[in-house]
């Protein structure tokens, strides 16, 4: 058992899988260049020393190419882990993900598999509009993709390993403020959730959520950074006698629906917190599921707390205003009582 940041846990997960399976390799921009960054957030730092530059493969700035190469390699016996420098760049490779990776197994009648992993950092961190979006929801709307969102070091390593061993395209979204990256790549305002990570091989199953805090009065569902915002809100609410249950689905597709429904059946209230903007979002989907499947257990209208419907703004006061704050979570919960 060792204490690790999420960046370290991911790195160890990659290292162990690359040692275990020679078909696993990494590709991406700036991931293995000597004297470089080890990816934008240090996840692959030092791995090329052990595995060389053929298996920690630096690519040109070619997002379509990175995605397509990963797909082609995955379809022919390799298990690529593609590093996307910023989640926003996923839009550059949308065709490869949405039309190719997601549909290849389906349109081949189940005769072809695409076991690729793509890791993408999300979250607004004072970088303006094009390096800040939380765009998980786009990919949850594409049948054929699995979408993961680990928020702890333990889950990051365990889910990454499950993703690498999965036979389908898996997108892993990581939050920039949760990496705990050090040195020049550390982030202002980062939470650095350092956690215990077992030394022995383990996986976290895809499709199983986690209850981060037990409560009886309201269910708050968050993902990535908003899990921590929800937990902070829950502590404040507890001072006023409201006990919130905080659920972290960990896997967005497939979703552990039953965990959420079970909690709402108990509490009668649901607040969904996400960093993506509000309209037509992931929160709306969670709300719809609960409204459809646990309606008669609801004691108050479902509330969504999300970023505002604007692109991520740059200036810190505007950014703070735009993001789903602890205060907004608390206000949403209180409006249900």
């Amino acid at each position: 058992m060792a204490l690790m940041t999420i960046a370290e846990a991911l790195r160890e997960g990659i290292r162990e899988e690359m040692r275990r399976d020679p078909t696993v390799f990494c590709l991406g921009e700036d991931i293995g260049v000597p004297g470089g960054f080890g990816g934008a957030f240090t996840v692959t730092l030092g791995l090329s020393d052990e595995f060389g530059h053929n298996r920690i493969l630096d690519t040109p700035i070619s997002e379509i190419g990175i995605a397509g190469v990963a797909i082609g390699a995955a379809m022919t016996g390799m298990r690529p882990i593609a590093d996307v420098q910023y989640g926003d760049f996923l839009f550059c490779m949308m065709d490869q993900l949405a039309n190719q990776a997601a549909k290849m197994t389906y349109m081949s009648g189940g005769t072809v598999k695409v076991p690729l992993v793509m890791r993408a950092p999300v979250g607004s961190t004072r970088r303006g509009s094009q390096h800040a979006q939380s765009l998980e929801a786009f990919f949850t709307h594409i049948p054929g993709l699995k979408v993961l969102a680990p928020s702890t070091a333990y889950d990051a390593k365990g889910l990454l390993k499950s993703a690498i061993r999965d036979e389908n395209p898996v997108l892993i979204f990581e939050h920039k403020l949760l990496y705990g990256s050090k040195g020049g790549r550390s982030e202002k305002g980062a939470l650095s959730p350092i956690g215990e990570v077992p030394d022995e091989d383990y996986t976290v199953p895809i499709g199983k959520g986690a209850i981060r805090r037990v409560g009886k009065d309201v269910t708050i569902v968050g993902k990535l950074l908003t899990v921590y915002r929800a937990l902070e809100a829950a502590e404040e609410l507890a001072k006023e006698g409201i006990e919130a249950e905080v659920i972290d689905p960990r896997t967005l597709i497939p979703l552990d629906k039953e965990l959420i429904l079970e909690s709402v059946r108990k509490t009668g209230r649901l607040v969904v917190v996400e960093e993506d903007n509000l309209t037509h979002g992931w929160g709306a989907e969670i709300a719809a599921i609960v409204a459809e499947e646990a309606f008669f257990y609801l004691d108050a209208p479902i509330k969504r707390v999300a970023s505002l419907d604007t692109p991520p703004p740059f200036a810190p006061p505007m950014e703070a205003y735009y993001l789903p704050s602890v205060e907004r979570v608390i206000a949403a919960v209180k409006s249900q009582f």
Partner: protein, 329 residues
Amino acid sequence: MTIASLNNATQVELLTLYREMLLIRRFEEQCNALFLQGKIPSTLHLYIGQEAVAVGVCAALRPDDYVLGTHRPHGHALAKGVTSRSIMAELFGKVTGCCKAKGGSMHVGDMSVGMFPAIAIVGANAPIATGAALSAKMRGSGQVVVAFFGEGGANEGAVHEAMNMAAIWKLPVLFVCENNLYGASTPVSQIVAVENVADRAVAYGMPGVIVDGNDVLAVRDVTRTAVERARAGEGPSLIECKTYRLCGHSRSDACNYRTREEEAEWRDKDPLLRIRKLLTEETGLATLSDLEQVEAEVEAILTDAIQFADESPEPAPEDALLHVFWEDK
């Protein structure tokens, strides 16, 4: 014609090439007829006129090499060895199709013979081909990968990224541009500023070769050279095959964007006429009755394929739910 012009092709080889080209031609003609009879429920992008490209390229490949087709993939699939039965059944939307009726005309493929499910987003197959070539190199399998695309696809950013990556990593991949002069209805002169698509190869640091795409032997030979280079670890090549689509872009196309004179000119250069002439008049390697025998074989294959497709069961509607994710058998 001298024997040299045959590039050492034997009678058997030539008859094999002819049989494959004829199979594609007759397959596509039958598809057209079956569409009109309502047997094929989708539109079709037919390969009529370009048979020498697919057959010539695939003649230079090993069975375990990979081919990535386009939205016009029947010719690529047949040339790579996907059976007529499984393609025809796929077009009919039957469970015995090569994609179990999930793919249809634009996605036919069979990985067991090296044919990727065809990729119908123009140019999107190129980076995937580069990835397959990276995989072949990493696994040390010696496989070569071919990505087909048109002169229209050549302008996709995906193709550019794929060629650059293949070149920097010296990957065993061939980018085969089938320049049939029209991207749907748009003539090549409107969309490409250089004279030849192959001229761009120099910018990627790879050889660019231009070949008469209606001459199956010429196509086979330039492909062989590129394949040898690729297997030797020297990297990718760009091959531009100058050809012509003798049919419309899709089933609904009346070809009003081009002249009947131009079409007649290219009909004279029909790759099937060309190989027949080579086999008979020019070399005397085959008699008319040899050709008739090949034609009879092809007709038998197609009759069987159509009957197979016709008699095969339709999928259950709820089969739509299968294969969204990989299912272990």
